[in-house]
């Protein structure tokens, strides 16, 4: 439930259908809760997540972006997670150029059965973005 006045960050989580999305499901089946303001977007592989998807999330008011994919060497599409890691790095550099703190985009890897890890990541990132405050783009609106 959103409390009026309290800052609830909008966090977009791009989740790999092979791992992170299933981990989110596992968290649900295990009745482990995670912040409702994490908006999960299912992608066939995090290799599909482009720098532009990340930038446009911020254009549309996101306060943070998570990219959640398979563990190293476990990508179902061989190198999707490595590509995503590079793109997250690139997106952070591009955002830093315009003065948006680099910690707002992060990538984590997890396996489909790691429901509690999914919830832990979601909680930690949520807390960190809360401390950072709203995206400078959003607060200028």
């Amino acid at each position: 439930m959103k409390i009026k006045g309290a800052f609830s960050p909008d966090i977009i989580a791009f989740c790999c259908a092979q791992s992170a999305y299933q981990a989110a499901d596992t968290a649900g089946s295990m009745r482990i809760s995670y912040p409702e303001n994490i908006r999960v977007i299912r992608v066939p592989c995090v290799g599909r997540v482009d720098v532009l998807h990340i930038l446009r999330a911020f254009e549309r008011g996101a306060d943070g972006v998570l990219v959640l994919g398979c563990h190293d060497e476990a990508c179902h599409h061989l190198s999707g997670n490595t590509r995503a890691k590079n793109r997250v790095q690139k997106a952070n550099t591009l955002l830093q150029e315009i003065g948006i703190d680099g910690k707002r985009v992060e990538m984590f890897t997890l396996a489909p059965n790691q429901g509690s890890r999914f919830a832990r990541i979601a909680n930690e990132v949520n807390e960190r973005i809360k401390e950072l405050g709203p995206s400078p783009v959003k607060s200028a609106d």
């Binding site: 720098v51 532009l52 930038l55 446009r56 911020f58 254009e59 591009l94 955002l95 150029e97 315009i98 003065g99 948006i100 400078p136 783009v137 200028a140 609106d141």
Partner: protein, 218 residues
């Protein structure tokens, strides 16, 4: 191909200060391949500028387009309507493209978003190296297809120098010694006799700036 890299965002922002509507124009040839000014880079720069203008409370409308080649007048002319809608054009082409667009649309300010660096080839994904200096008098027939003018730090025509060190260059130990590469290539092809010849110093007057070539199509 021509290798370029994007200018720092700060420099680009300074150029377009005061404009309300700009056209960011990409080029679909060399700078697309070297990830500097193709359709994708146009979209990324647009997004960055939109975010920055939103953050700073400025009003900035951005039009985007990418054409096949900005160095050909016929391909640029079709942009007439789009250019007329904008206060300025931010070209993501090499210096040649920027100048061609500026020539076709003399009433609109055209700004460069890239720094044109050199002519080169890809070494591996994301890495490009200079391989031709457009010196105007190609020497590659004598060097096994490896240009010492650009790839040797000293531009020697009669190498290697005393600074070659296990195939690396004394000026930059990270770089290969061009003359070691040339020796190995000619040895492989059984053409080492080419290397025993002495080549007099280069006559750089073969290139008169600005260069101009007039020719008839075959």
């Amino acid at each position: 191909m021509i290798i370029a890299e994007r200018k720092p965002l700060e420099d680009i922002q300074e150029m377009i200060t005061g404009y309300k509507k700009i056209l960011i124009l990409g080029c679909g040839t060399c700078v697309t391949i070297c990830w500097a000014g193709g359709e994708k880079e146009v979209a990324v720069l647009s997004s960055q500028l939109r975010l920055a203008s939103k953050k700073n409370g400025n009003e900035l409308a951005i039009l985007e387009d990418t054409i096949e080649r900005q160095c050909e007048k016929e391909l640029i002319e079709v942009l007439k309507d789009k250019v007329q809608q904008a206060d300025a054009v931010l070209s993501m082409a090499c210096g040649i493209g920027v100048q061609t667009v500026a020539e076709i649309f003399p009433d609109v300010p055209v700004y460069p978003a890239l720094n044109t660096k050199f002519m080169g080839m890809p070494e591996r994904e994301g890495v490009w190296v200079e391989t031709c200096r457009a010196c105007g008098d190609c020497f590659l027939d004598k060097t096994g297809g490896i240009c010492p003018i650009v790839r040797c730090a000293k531009g020697l025509l009669n190498g290697p120098c005393g600074g070659t060190n296990n195939g690396k260059c004394e000026v930059d130990p990270e770089k290969d010694c061009a003359w070691t590469l040339i020796y190995r290539k000619l040895e492989r092809q059984g053409r080492l006799d080419v290397m025993r010849k002495y080549y007099p110093p280069r006559n750089f007057q073969t290139v008169i700036r600005p260069g101009k070539i007039e020719t008839l199509q075959a």
